[in-house]
Amino acid sequence: MSASPSLRARQLAVSLLLALLLAAAGLLAMVFGSSGLDLATTLTALWAPEQAEPTARAIVWQIRLPRILLAAVVGATLSLGGLVFQALLRNPLAEPYILGISGGSAVGAIGGMLLGLTMFPGVTVAAFLGSMVTLALVLLLPASRAATGKDSLLLGGVMVNAFCSAVITFLISLSQESTQVHHILFWLMGDFSMLKSEQLPILLLILPCLALIFVMARPMNLLLLGRESASALGVNVQRVRVLLLVATSFMVSLVVCQSGLVGFVGLVIPHIFRQLLGSDHRLLAPACVLGGGAYLVFCDLLARMLSKTGEMPVGIVTALIGAPLFIFLLWRARR
């Protein structure tokens, strides 16, 4: 008999462990902050809000909890998005923004800010529309000839992003007010401080995308063998690719328009779990969702703690921790 535990057992173990990690990160992020709450007060406010003092209740329910939820959802979505794009494009450097999502949403968001729209819903909607437009360009332009060539998609995305970054720089140079430039820079690095709790229900739209990607995890494994091998093993390659591309791009656009361009999570988290767990996407998908969520909650906590003056974009922290962590794992694997 095979000594290794079954897939279901590994899925369960990994998910439980990472869910605990996520809960721990969430609890830490709930307790620490600019106004210190002790653990007991926080737990009381959480479990029995009517017994808690009003300030603690307000901090926990109106400030910290929505922010933690947003960080967790963004981390989960970007990590899973990176995992899917790396598999679909069969390129380990792929990240969730690679098909032009970052460029398009940034142009939309900055355009919205320059027009003086409110962050929510104005800028959010503008960012979402921006990413949908670029995505349609990238997906439909090469479709006339080689819709399935992984490199044509990749090149299309890179070109659209390059064009958009020129537009972004142009737009920034147009802006005269320094507070506006400050806002734009924060958005480009990913920032949770502008959050309004009424934004959160929109994120429920991500759930069907998550479900689809989980169901597609086994075909995704086969896609890594190449188009012909996957077909010969019974996968309808075209259908699986299109479904995954659309679902993933949609959910990534949804979080980007809420949080700005939080970098690096989508690149490094999938790689960390590949190093630790292997290549089976049925294991990697839940790991990326829970682990990516925990990672970003933790990074956001650090971002809040590190800047005494107010706010630091969370995107700075994700790369500051993530890059060394990944290099360490690579170094350990080589030995």
């Binding site: 494994n221 086969l222 093993l233």
Partner: protein
């Protein structure tokens, strides 16, 4: 009964015609090898049989049913493909790779069960890679990797197995090992083996019948003795070859004759 029946097959890449009015029938349990010069359409024929390329004209039947009438999953339960190369940039373990052969037998949400693991172990035992089951594919030698992919194909429980130059870049011992495996598969399980090969001598040793392709056309089909003659080989490859029938059981042995620069 013919397992594969091809009639009047035509295939184009753009304006270039790759296969021209090709007809053939492959019988159940046959060891069938396609030979021919580079660019003669061997691999393209294999891809048409695996329904990876759509022909411009003609018909292909598998087990008495038109190929286009098969769904992807249904086809993968009847026919397995061993490709020439496989990417290693996202390496799976040997066990994971072999279990992928069960994929067409599982539903969309299915997970490999006890039975599937048993079949995978059986297939790994058959091809002699069971001791490697926890290793990653990129840590194996070429011969080991080829045996893993054949185990995956066996795991599909197909009636036909298609192989694209499975012995290319292997040393002679590993070449014979792979060919023996396939012959055993044919004898013990009645699986039809269809292979593309550049190795005329191995083909002559193992094949029941050979198909000789030249510029997309079937030059001859028949037993190794019928196909591998001096005249046919010269016509097909444009090169003088020595055909020696005095070896093993009168199986032809082919030696390409050196060009004029080799002193003799």
């Amino acid at each position: 009964m013919s397992v594969v029946r091809v009639r009047g097959l035509n295939l184009h890449y753009g304006h270039q015609q790759v296969l021209r009015d090709l007809s053939l029938a492959i019988e159940k349990g046959e060891f069938f090898v396609v030979i021919g010069p580079n660019g003669s359409g061997k691999t393209s024929l294999l891809k048409v049989l695996a329904h990876l390329l759509k022909p411009a004209g003609g018909s292909v039947e598998l087990l008495g049913k038109p190929l286009f009438a098969y769904g992807r999953g249904e086809l993968a339960r009847c026919l397995a493909l061993v490709p020439q190369q496989m990417p290693l940039d996202f390496p799976f373990t040997v066990r994971e790779t072999v279990l992928m052969g069960r994929s067409p037998h599982l539903g969309l949400l299915g997970v490999e069960g006890r039975q599937d693991h048993a079949l995978a172990r059986e297939a790994m035992d058959f091809t002699g890679v069971r001791h490697l089951e926890d290793r990653r594919l990129d840590q194996l030698s070429g011969g080991e990797r080829q045996r893993v992919i054949i185990a995956r194909a066996i795991c599909q429980q197909p009636q036909v197995i298609l192989l694209d130059e499975p012995t290319a870049s292997l040393d002679p011992a590993h070449q014979v090992h792979i060919m023996d495996l396939l012959e055993r598969l044919r004898q013990e399980q009645g699986i039809t083996v269809v292979m593309v090969s550049h190795d005329l001598n191995l083909a002559a040793l193992y094949a029941d019948r050979l198909l000789l392709l030249r510029e997309g056309e079937a030059l001859t089909v028949g037993s190794p003795r019928e196909v591998l003659t001096v005249g046919t080989l010269r016509h097909c490859f444009g090169c003088e070859m020595l055909v020696d029938l005095r070896g093993l059981d009168g199986i032809p042995r082919i030696t390409p004759l050196p060009g004029k620069y080799l002193p003799r």
